[in-house]
Assembly symmetry: none
DNA sequence: TATGAATGAGGCTTCATTCAT
DNA sequence: GATGAATGAAGCCTCATTCAT
């Protein structure tokens, strides 16, 4: 009996996962607005009605995808954040790590971007994602500013927002360069723009 | 007779402008996808059918708005671009100038962002806007790199893209700080991140 | 003063004629349903509003075109009808004459055919055209039947309808043969089908 | 499970048939252009949206109706065509048979007639219907001409077109006589008009 | 009288959501 | 729980008609 329930649960879980996966793919390729629930369910090879056994709306799927991503991000970032090192190094690590995660979940970015586009709940999506993301960066930057490692003539928020912007837009870059490498270069510029005094980039040529 | 025609033409022009204005406002407050033509025409205080006396579709309005903005931008930027000065100064001027223009046309930004959403026309919009925008920045950055004023271990494109990203995302900033000031600070960071050797930010305090 | 009025009337007349001509052309090339009033007035090189100075609706134009054609037909047919000759000869003459008229007013046929298609008044159109057409043929056929020149085991109406049908459909023939020649051949068959005894076609080979 | 599917499929089939039937009725009574999809679905007692679960457009319904009719016609005509008999008899049989079929599907005629009206698809309809129709008549007539049973001073095409025209226009006859009887009489005239020498109608009185 | 911009009714189509099976 | 047909609200667009100039 326990097994049966477990099997059923697994099946239910599978259907749910299939829908999430299909939704992510459709969102990524066609965009959120252009994806209908029928599209998702066809991609998932399931009946339309089944959708409503698992989600209340397309936005709900979005929120779930965002939440999942956020949980992954929190986990990874927590691992990195525990290491004790200089703020620039730490920030760089976090950025690289985030880039990797996002690279593996590209579908989520259009959602960020369409946040301003789509109806009801976009703020929720943003809020679902941000905590593990924005707050950590805020913390690192603030620490760096307090320690005198980062400039403090620019508000922490602004710097954090700038990092955010790098991720958002790079996801849609049409340059030949890879996503992660693209991010790496931009973060280098940003770091050089906020690092205080020592360790200037023009002295560290070739270090990457 | 001539007067009559002139009067009518004036009215026609006004109606067109009313629609454009209403569309811009609606796009800005509700986003492009969430704005129906009925919305626009209600905001413009005109009948729905009237819309089609002036535009073929919502996308058409968008393109027109984009084109108008682009023309404004080209004009302003040309004025700035003619001044002979150091590349960092020139870039800063252009950025400030662009920020001002965008600030006065915030509605256009969602369109940039929705580029990834609506497969059909948004590329046209992007292309409508870009020429006066991206290419000028490319040119200034390249000049700076050739003159040894900007770092050259990062491709011109990447830097240009980073500037682009600043505009895109700052438009949706929820920080208390004003749009133009926000841009100014980020550009400062960026400039410090790409300027070569001398003229570091920590020596230029207060000039900002 | 009299001249002025006359001039005005002539001008009015010209506008009206221009509209009728343009409408006929549009109806012929695009069909009645696919022709909008705006289309007509653009083809007529006149303002849309002007239309309503002369006609109440598109159907009204149709009726007028039909009426004009009918008047032409009546006139021509009367000329023919007065000649005293055998019924088959008379019928043939009328048919040829009608074919010529229709050939010069092809636009009117689609209207007949669309009679079953279009809304309100199609019967009126049919009725506008028929009198000079159908009644004359009826009369000739009846006379032929009474004189024993035409078979009388088929109602007059049926024969008349058959003639009617020849005109209707031949207008849209896609055969290489010309409209008038096509009609001539069909009328030949029909005449041979209704002529009594003597004068069979297989004895009149080569006479056309 | 299999039963459930079967039940649903049956219902689906029924809905489709209901729509086709309703469309046919509406097309027949109001004409194609004057029938809106809302009209059809109201007649079918179904929601408007349901239409699009079965057809892509009004034209699509039309094509389907035409295709169905054509298949019926092909079948019936094949049966007739196999009989070995004189060409006039065969042609007569085919005509009667066709008349019966058309009489049961009157709605399709307006479609033929609207062929000249709606530029897009009607040719497809015509083409959908023709193969089983025109080609068979062509063949019979040609055979008759080759055998010396039919006159050959008139092209096969013309005769075939004349038959075609009889069906087209008789469908809209307003005479008291029934459709099939009307056709029968006209075909008699036509046959007598094309039959060679012997077997003249005035010798076959009473047989019709 | 000529004009053409303004209008809104009406048609087409999409799609999120429901519900009977 | 899974299904997919049914639904109607809502958006897009056309066009006959009106009316101020």
């Amino acid at each position: 009996m326990a097994e049966k329930i477990s099997l059923r649960k697994r099946k239910k879980f599978q259907a749910r996962q299939k829908i999430l996966l299909a939704a992510a793919q459709q969102f990524e390729t066609q965009g959120f607005a252009n994806t209908s629930i029928a599209d998702i369910m066809q991609a998932a090879n399931l009946g339309v009605g089944t959708f409503y056994n698992y989600f209340r709306s397309k936005e709900d799927v979005l929120l779930t995808l965002a939440k999942n991503l956020r949980e992954d991000m929190e986990e990874k970032i927590l691992q990195v954040g525990e290491v004790n090192q200089s703020s620039p190094e730490l920030l760089k690590l976090c950025c690289v790590c985030t880039a990797k995660l996002i690279d593996e979940n590209r579908f989520i970015l259009p959602l960020f971007l369409s946040a301003s586009e789509h109806s009801d709940k976009p703020e929720q999506i943003s809020e679902s994602l941000s905590p593990g993301f924005k707050e950590l960066f805020d913390k690192i930057i603030l620490r760096g500013q307090e320690r005198g490692e980062f400039r403090d003539d620019v508000p922490t928020n602004i710097i954090s927002e700038m990092i955010h912007s790098i991720y958002q837009t790079t996801a849609f870059s049409k340059l030949e360069i890879s996503f992660q490498e693209n991010i790496r270069l931009k973060v280098k510029i940003l770091l050089d723009g906020i690092k205080k005094g020592k360790g200037r980039w023009d002295k560290g040529k070739g270090q990457g």
